[in-house]
């Protein structure tokens, strides 16, 4: 089969997400679709997958135009979309998952398990897989789950498979297993679109690449003609320059040091140190383990290895202990981890300091309100009454309330995990100001972020992680998007960065 997408345009309101994008693919080809977050990759694939309609442009399959209105339409035309969050049900057997929603039945109306198992086995045989169709999906590792999804697509006679970051949660041997499967499909004439941030993998498995940036197709061609540096440059663009906001500051003594930190799944043999008045960045792509690492440092996860706080070796096992030691942690995913949606603004803003606000047996509400009022002014939090629910605020102001609850605890080291997630541009700048002000007041700040621009803007130096290990440290002129992207995609092995 051949696929051609011509002049695809799509906008959401005033926001043009795709501008005249062309994309093509032949059977037996694996094409990488690359681009930063928000470049338009998902939108393009959702149009191909029948999830979204295009505003303009046409899609041709084998030379004849097609119109996909629903995912079922595109599946019918042979296009299968394997989403990043797998859609398998853990508590059902493999064959039941293969037939979910279109189960085969016997004449008496009962499930025809025998035929379903048989057909599943046939697909597995064709793909040379030694999987038992009756095994429970729960017992499979992440790569086999991916493989079951692919098999399901094959059973539905897909001739084009879209894989959205399939290797994100996989270990290296698991990735190899999925790649073997992809090579096998390629030999059978199936076309694959491989969405990934990992450039090394792109070089290994893909024949061609297409790079999107800000809704434009900026580069395309055979992978054999480019290097990972080229691809990283295409993704970032030449014109992106971000000025660093950091001023030279007098650095104080070392506050927090970790050595050989390890949790056996998310991070491996990580060492770092941060000094008073310093802003340390930690960046990487999805699945790099930085959140898990610093949650462990904060006592919210397990770790092995050594941790020093102001020169004293400590073993942090609970979050109250971390707070006593002077560690603060502003979590990622504000809604799930940062706010308490049933509580009002001031209560959210004083959740950490509550034990300190007790007078006699009861909470000193006047003092709580006064301390919070101070934070409201310092952080320019825009809100109605402080007894309104936290959810009445905009994302940026909610995030500032979460910051406020930590600032009033006066931590010696403050870890901020994706601090500007879901925050508008103005509030973003204000949060950067707050980070820099904290550093100038002598707080050791650790900023975890997947946005290279953010790291460059506020950090003095940054560690780049890939698959749970530190790939390198960047600072000064080295701290640019290309170098960071290059390290974060695992294109460089650790010893290459040593100078």
């Amino acid at each position: 089969m051949t696929l051609e997408m011509r002049g695809i345009c799509k906008s959401f309101g005033a926001n043009d997400v795709l501008k005249q994008v062309d994309f093509s693919l032949k059977g037996g080809e694996i094409c990488a679709l690359l681009g930063e977050n928000g470049a338009g990759k998902s939108t393009l694939m959702n149009i191909l997958g029948g999830v979204l309609p295009a505003d303009r442009g046409e899609i041709l399959i084998d030379g004849s135009p097609v119109h996909f209105h629903t995912p079922a339409d595109s599946l019918h035309a042979g296009v299968a979309f394997i989403h990043q969050e797998l859609s398998l049900i853990n508590d059902l057997a493999i064959y039941e998952n293969m037939y979910i929603g279109r189960e085969l039945k016997t004449k008496s109306g009962l499930l025809d398990a025998r035929t379903m198992i048989q057909n599943t086995q046939e697909v597995f045989d064709r793909l040379s897989l030694s999987l038992d169709p009756r095994a429970m999906v729960r017992d499979l590792d992440a790569s086999y789950k991916q493989i079951v999804e692919i098999s399901r697509a094959m059973m539905m006679q897909a001739s084009l498979i879209i894989m959205d970051e399939p290797t994100t949660s996989l270990t290296d041997p698991e990735i190899e297993r999925v790649f073997d499967m992809m090579r096998m499909l390629k030999q059978q004439g199936v076309a694959i679109i491989f969405i990934s941030h990992k450039l090394k993998e792109v070089m290994e498995i893909c024949d061609r690449y297409t790079v999107l940036r800000d809704g434009n197709m900026v580069a395309a061609g055979p992978v054999s003609e480019v290097t990972t540096e080229d691809l990283a440059r295409f993704m970032v663009g030449h014109d992106v320059r971000t000025e660093n906001l950091r001023q030279s500051r007098e650095l104080g003594p070392e506050i927090l040091r970790g050595e050989h930190l390890e949790d056996e799944t998310h991070f491996h043999d990580v060492s770092f140190a941060v000094r008073a008045g310093e802003v340390l960045g930690v960046t990487g792509l999805l699945g790099d383990g930085r959140s898990e690492l610093f949650q462990a440092v904060f006592g919210a996860g397990p770790y092995k290895g050594q941790l020093w706080m102001e020169g004293q070796e400590v073993k942090v096992t609970t979050t109250p202990q971390a707070i006593k030691l002077g560690i603060g942690y502003v979590p990622r995913n504000r809604k799930e981890n940062g706010i308490i949606k049933d509580m009002d603004i001031v209560e959210n803003g004083s959740m950490v300091t509550l034990p300190r606000l007790v007078k006699g047996a009861f909470l000193d509400l006047a003092r709580r309100d006064a301390e919070f009022e101070q934070q409201v002014q310092n952080l320019h939090i825009k809100m109605g009454k402080k007894s309104d629910l936290i959810t009445s605020l905009s994302g940026g102001n909610q995030q500032k309330v979460v910051l406020a609850k930590w600032l009033s605890a006066h931590p010696k080291v403050l870890i901020l995990d994706n601090p500007t997630q879901g925050v508008d541009v103005g509030a973003k700048e204000e949060i950067y100001d707050i980070i820099l002000r904290l550093a100038s007041e002598g707080v050791a700040v650790v900023v975890l972020s997947s946005e290279a621009q953010e790291i460059i803007r506020v950090c003095d130096r940054a560690l780049v992680m890939y698959h749970g290990t530190i790939q390198g440290e960047v600072s000064g002129a080295d701290m640019n998007e290309q170098t960071i992207m290059h390290l974060a995609t695992g294109s460089v092995t650790a010893n290459q960065t040593e100078e």
């Binding site: 707070i323 942690y329 799930e336 706010i339 308490i340 950490v352 047996a361």
Partner: protein, 348 residues
Amino acid sequence: MEKNQVLQNPGNRFLEAWKRNPLVSTGVVLILMVIIQTGIMIYNFGSGSIGELMLSLLTNWLNILRNNAPVGIIALGMTFAIISGGIDLSVGSTLVAVGAVVMAVVDGSATGLLTSMGITGVPAYLIAIVVGVLFGAALGWLNGVLIAHGKLPPFIATLGTMQIFRSVTQQLTQHANPSVPKGFLQIANLKIGSFYIMPIVYWLLLAVALYIVSKRTTFGRHVYAIGSNVRTARLSGINVNKVKRRIYMLTGMLVALAAIIQVSRIGSMDYASAGSGYEMDAIAAVIVGGTSMAGGKGSIVGTVLGMLIIGVMNNLLTLFGVPPFLREACKGVIVIVAVLLQKKEADA
């Protein structure tokens, strides 16, 4: 503009309050029921002076309150458990376990624990109360440890202990025949004026105290935080396990107080049947009072109102002469209706 108009119209303002605060619908239901109840009583009263009418209304009310005081006290603890996202099914069995211990300690016969040591009278009563409350706290602590550290779902943990507590109590007390001294009976039966109101006084004092605990102490606020978002709570440095242990200990202590009141009211306890169904009655009161089973939302005031609604309804059923077998059905209806009237969060 639109908001102003809404606020200017009192009818709309009422609807707004109804939607915002579950206590409003609970309060309205209670007021309507009280009006009906009073109406019927006046209608049934026949001839007599206004004073006699007032006295009969008051007596009726004190009966309602007194009869519901023990479960009302247990429901206060249940409120904390449910706000934290948990539940405690073991309260009825904890009640008999504590009751048995209290009776063994306070036993006035020659073989009684304290009596044989020569301790009688008020000191013996005080020791019995302290031992009972500590024992209730210990049983609650066991629930809390199973839930917090054993990571058992509260429903399962307390379902298990519910069966254990009652069964072990029955086994250990099968030959016991304690007699509760007269003085101990004064705890619940002391008359003030010409009314038996001590259980009501205890209930209301505890309700006020726990209202303050829920609003004005770190523990109280942490209970709400854990019930609403346990991840945020943990990441805010709250010792979640400790708070959970304390919640079930508190419930155990409140059950112990209810047990002491029960023992002193009647002077005996049937270990096979006492307290059975209390867990459901307490949960019903909490739910009718607007506390969310999903955790994070609810109030002590709501639970007191919820308990009153159930009490008044039982009274109404008697006044209407509803046959006994249908009473449970009516209880079920009131729980469902009360919750239907409360504002629900839209399904995600």
